[in-house]
């Protein structure tokens, strides 16, 4: 909302107080100020000129050559194209060097051969409205050579208030409300304003009926003898400063009253209404009307309409109808000022996509006593401009409204407790009184009378009054205090501890980068991953079409960012810890099951054909995951291969495995191509997914400490030739069995297939470390071990190739 500093001065004397100070006051005590800008800054550069002489341009019919006195020694020669320019006028002159709106810097120019040293401005050129049929003719008494803003007394500041910070303050949606705050903050007097309705001709009140429950009050006041004309300059300037476009006097007045008191209102051309008067009712489904913006609107039963002779003439609280609007030639008006239900108006405005200044205000729940005051204000202001306007008939006033003003108990000691500041009783009373509250002081609690404009929405309980006192007392005057209490450890959060442990291990020892990805997943990505057909929670209003799904798992999002990262990096290692949601598994409150996961991806260029034995990216990731589980002090059973029934859709169907905490696998080759990881970006991709929930549900394994060996260990290398189907795990089992407790560790260092092993076979080679806790192992111990390995592997269908 835009405030005009000059407009505020109509309500409170701000002599000696700058617009910047007002902005600061409002920020600290009332609402957020977004900025303070000078109004029409060009008016401080453009000066009043006197057209001393006007001659036609020698070479152009439409141009005039003017001699303009701008208070300097020599008058300026200015070429002007406006038809209305004439000698004797006072005009607004931009001189050479003046910058006009639009960053237009005036220069000396030759126009059709005649030199021109400046410009006589129209209102539009000064951004004072749409008027551009001619130059702006100033009042005759404007002082020559003085900046226009100063000469006319119209220099002004625009203070912009953040609307959101007024959400709860219906009383602040007009200049008078803000002025009330300023007066209270600065200890100034609010200037009086006549809000009593003048006498009407009386008789039968204008017929108004309210059927809709969404209209607590509707006033209809006929006004006669008006003329549709241009508004006086003061009114136009105030409206422009407050961000409104002046149109004609009647529209401008309606806006003026809204921006002054915060009460929207509407003027109908009474001649275009039915003599039956006004009915406020809900629309019939499918009913239509063309609004003032020339759009035909179709209504539902939830929309509230203003109807005359069963013809809709306005959408209640939102916008008037085209057919009944004030137009040239209108002489008789019906002024509508009403209290409309906030929700009804908001829903209709939202549904129609038609947020107006009126609906924005009604949405805040306006004070139902305000319409009568606003009607009076409009009539008084209109009469000041057109004195012969009459009120031919008593005002119609319908509705079941009640005055919201109420009494709230306030304990002054509670004020001090909540604020933590020693605000004296007198100060509390002074503050509340300055804001229009009525205070009846007695033994605590006091009784505080809340005025209707504050009670309408914002103030209803003791805490609300405490806020009033606090903000006026000034939060900056409250001293900081440390928290006190017994020193007890805060409850532990095992989940967070686990998260930190995994993060540290991955970012540290395993050297992965932690990423965050969006909770929303693209349909296209899920389709590529073959994961589209699963159950997803979706949002109704996604920001991007095709991106409404809420992730079930973290991994797909990480797979989705592989391609982009591969373009810049050979070795892509990413992880994310986050939450997925499973709608098929909701609880009785409808909350989807939340799964807490760690997802890891690792992409590496495929090793060259002649590369030595390479365990491969999956094998390396497997070790990372084993390590994470170990560091988390959980013990996992062995890995088992996933089969078609439980392999994730993006995983290689024959190269994926799981244990009770994790899944590790290689990306399916088709999916990899779908993700664009081919050609130059070809790489091996392994993924892993760990369930934090499963880790947390499992017991912590006791830490297994092994004493440092007292005797040296012996390293033995063994290699087997085994059938292709023979699992490495079985070979290791043979070795461990053969060790009879002496095998300290094994490490596979080669896996080979080729001619020297024979078709259908492979060679596995292991480093084995043997260790006894009670002696140094002898050559005989080693020989016996190798003998047992040989017999064991032969029984299992393989043979020992070498030791």
């Amino acid at each position: 909302m835009f405030l005009s500093y000059r407009w505020l001065q109509r309500h409170v004397d701000l002599t000696g107080v700058s617009a910047q100070e007002i902005a600061e006051d409002l920020t600290i005590h009332t609402a957020e100020v977004e900025g303070v800008e000078p109004f029409a800054p060009a008016l401080s550069d453009v000066v009043v000129g006197h057209v001393v002489d006007r001659k036609p341009h020698p070479d152009a019919d439409r141009l005039s050559v003017c001699t303009v006195d701008v208070g300097d020694d020599t008058p300026l020669n200015i070429v002007c194209g406006a038809p209305n320019v004439d000698a004797g006028q006072k005009v607004a002159v931009g001189r050479v060097g003046t910058v006009l709106p639009g960053n237009l810097k005036l220069k000396k120019a030759k126009i059709r051969g005649v030199e021109s040293r400046g410009m006589i401005c129209s209102e539009r050129e000064l951004e004072l409205g749409d008027e551009h049929s001619g130059i702006w003719v100033l009042p005759d008494d404007a002082q020559v050579g003085v900046p226009v803003a100063q000469a006319l007394g119209i220099d002004d500041w625009i203070i912009e208030i953040e609307n959101k910070s007024l959400t709860h303050r219906p009383d602040l949606w007009g200049h008078r409300g803000i002025a009330t705050e300023i007066a209270a903050i600065r200890g100034l007097e609010l200037l009086p304003l006549d809000l009593t309705l003048p006498e009407t001709a009386g008789g039968e009140p204008y017929p108004v009926r309210v059927e809709s429950p969404g209209c607590p009050r509707y006033l209809g006041l006929p006004i006669s003898g008006v003329r549709v004309e241009r508004s006086p300059l003061w009114l136009r300037l105030l409206l422009i400063a407050a961000g409104q476009r002046p149109l004609d006097l009647l529209v401008d007045l309606s806006n003026f009253v809204m921006l002054d008191l915060g009460q929207p209102n509407h003027l109908f051309d009474a001649g275009r209404l039915s003599s039956e008067g006004i009915l406020v009712r809900n629309a019939r489904a499918g009913e239509t009307m063309t609004t003032l913006d020339d759009v035909e609107r179709t209504f539902t039963q939830n929309d509230m309409l203003i109807v005359s002779g069963d013809e809709p003439v306005a959408v209640a609280g939102v916008m008037g109808g085209e057919a009944s609007k004030v137009a040239e030639g209108t002489t008789d008006l019906l002024l509508e000022v009403a209290a409309f239900d906030a929700t009804t108006v908001r829903r209709t405005a939202q549904r129609l996509g038609l947020r107006t200044d009126a609906s924005t205000r009604f949405e805040k729940t306006l004070d139902p006593t305000l319409p009568a005051k606003a009607a009076a204000h409009l009539v008084h202001t209109l009469r000041a401009i057109q004195p012969d306007v009459t009120l031919p008939r008593a005002m119609g006033d319908a509705g079941t409204w009640t005055d919201p003003a109420c009494d709230v108990e306030l304990r002054p000691e509670r004020v001090r407790i909540v604020l933590g500041a020693d605000v004296p009783d007198d100060e509390i009373e002074r503050i509340l009184t300055s804001l229009g509250f009525g205070v009846v002081r007695s033994a605590s609690p006091w009784s505080v009378r809340v005025p209707s404009d504050r009670a309408a929405k914002d103030v209803g309980i003791e805490e609300d009054l405490i806020e009033e006192v606090g903000r006026m007392f000034g939060y900056g005057n409250i001293a900081e205090r440390p928290l006190e209490g017994p020193l007890v450890p805060a409850p532990r959060d095992e989940r967070r501890e686990l998260v930190e442990l995994l993060q540290n291990r991955l970012a540290g020892a395993a050297r992965f980068h932690e990423a965050l990805t969006h909770t929303f997943q693209f349909d296209a990505l899920l389709q590529r991953l073959g994961a589209f057909d699963e159950a997803y929670l979706e949002v109704l209003n996604p920001q991007i079409d095709g991106c409404a799904r809420i992730r079930r798992s973290i991994l797909p999002s990480l797979l989705g960012v592989l391609e982009g990262n591969r373009r810049h990096s050979d070795d892509v290692r990413l992880f994310e810890i986050g939450k997925g949601y499973r709608p098929e598994d909701a609880n009785e409150r409808g909350e989807p099951r939340e799964v807490h996961q760690l997802a890891i991806v690792w992409a590496l260029p495929r090793p060259g054909k002649n590369a030595r034995f390479d365990a491969g990216v999956m094998s390396r990731l497997q070790s990372v995951v084993d390590d994470l589980i170990r560091v988390a002090r959980r013990s996992a059973s062995g890995w088992r291969a996933l089969d078609a029934t439980d392999v994730p859709s993006w995983a290689h169907p024959g190269r994926s495995m799981a244990n009770e905490f994790a899944t590790v696998g290689v990306l399916d080759p088709g999916v990899k191509r779908e993700l664009g990881l081919d050609g130059d970006l070809e790489c091996d991709v392994a993924f892993a997914e760990l369930s934090l929930d499963a880790l947390l549900a499992a017991d912590e394994a006791p830490h297994a400490y092994h004493p440092i060996p007292r005797f040296p260990s012996v390293k033995v290398d063994v290699a087997f030739s085994v059938p292709e189907a023979f699992a490495a795990g079985d070979a290791i089992a043979v070795v461990e069995a053969a060790g009879k407790g002496l095998v300290h560790s094994t490490e596979m260092f080669d896996l080979y297939r080729g001619d020297s092993v024979g078709a259908g076979k492979k060679s596995l080679a292991l480093h084995v470390r043997l260790l006894a806790s009670d002696r140094t192992l002898s050559d005989e111990d080693v020989a016996r071990f190798v003998g047992r390995v040989e017999r064991g592997i032969e029984r299992a269908g393989g043979e020992l190739r070498s030791e």
Binding site: E32, R481, N541, H568, L574
Partner: protein, 345 residues
């Protein structure tokens, strides 16, 4: 006295020692003269076949040779070692500007880093760290926070609503954790709850539809606005490692009463004159954190006696703090999962 033969052996050996230019050559001299089959060894071997009267002399000669040659070899070895150390200490070819060998490294996301820092600060002051769901019930996100259906304040939160269940949404703030905390914890307590939040805002360099917040909630007897100010100042002092001016100004949030916006004096231009920079948009203030005294209705919703207990709550803009902390100019990077960004932390 050595025999001429022994003297010849000695001289030859000493010449060999002197000529040995490295440890290997020296070892060879050692073998040649002192080894089992070496010259001295042969003298020793010849003792048993020698006539008894000569045996003593041969033994003495052999020992003398051993001592002389062995001593010379040892001396020479020491000299060679000393030479080698000198050579090893030479700086030829050293180039400190050669870059270190590349190191694969990992990183924690900046949001994690700042979250941890804040968690450390707050948990040292006895705050519990809580977690809450990102897919939230309307009851918790709005209703229990004193924002009933049709409350105009709902418009301040551009909510993502879930399909199929009108009560389900993506939480628009971490504030629903306040209710969950009030339901589960017994006052007095202090808690924070970091996490992701969602608002349907158009994404640009300073807006993301997904961002991080950190809720704070302190409930107890006699908790005042003064405590809130104290808590905020303390935390800012810790984060920015100096005292920064703050100001509280009125702010409207239905779940607090009174409600504030907390501004902090821009740390990037606080010491400059004139103040004002692009970070604070020339206002010298940075809006950091909506906060306030917990609304009695919220306490009541959470089953807490609002007459006995008061409390304060705040909602720190974590994403904003991360950006301030690291000078990140585009919020979109936070959720972008781009290694070129992540590798910098």
């Amino acid at each position: 006295m050595l025999s001429p033969e022994a003297e010849a052996i000695r001289d030859e050996a000493l010449a060999g020692v002197a000529a040995a230019s490295d440890v290997a050559a020296l070892a060879s001299v050692d073998r040649t003269f002192l080894g089992k089959d070496g010259a001295v060894g042969q003298i020793l071997a010849s003792i048993k076949d020698a006539p008894p009267e000569k045996r003593k002399q041969l033994g003495q000669e052999a020992n003398a040779l051993k001592q002389v040659i062995g001593g010379a070899i040892e001396e020479r070895r020491e000299a060679l070692r000393a030479e080698a150390l000198v050579a090893e200490r030479a700086s030829d070819g050293f180039d400190p500007t050669l870059p270190g060998a590349p190191l694969q490294r990992g990183s924690l996301h900046p949001v994690t880093q700042v979250t941890r820092e804040l968690q450390g600060i707050f948990s040292s002051m006895g705050y519990a760290i809580l977690d809450g769901p990102e897919v939230e019930l309307d009851d918790y996100n709005f209703e229990a926070l004193n924002i009933p259906a049709d409350h105009p304040a709902r418009e301040m939160y551009d909510t993502f609503w879930c399909k199929g269940d009108a009560n389900l949404l993506l939480r628009t703030h971490t504030s629903p954790v306040q209710i969950r905390a009030l339901e589960t914890l017994e006052p007095p307590f202090r808690a924070i709850a970091p996490g992701r939040c969602f608002r349907n805002e158009t994404v640009d360099a300073s807006h993301e539809h997904t961002f991080h917040q950190m809720e704070g909630l302190v409930v107890g007897e006699g908790i005042t606005v003064g405590h809130l100010i104290g808590a905020m100042k303390t935390f800012l002092r810790e984060v920015f490692r100096r005292d920064l001016e703050i100001r509280l100004r009125p702010g409207f949030f239905p779940f607090v009463e009174p409600g504030f916006e907390l501004d902090v004096r821009c740390p990037f231009c606080a010491e400059k004159t004139p103040r004002g920079c692009s970070v604070c948009k020339r206002t010298t203030w940075i809006e950091l954190c909506p906060c306030g005294m917990v609304h009695p209705r919220v306490l009541a919703f959470g089953g807490v006696d609002a007459e006995k207990y008061t409390g304060f709550a705040f909602g720190l803009g974590l994403s904003r703090l991360v950006m301030l902390r690291f000078g990140i100019d585009d919020i979109r990077h936070l959720m972008g999962a781009d290694l070129r960004f992540l590798e910098q932390f």
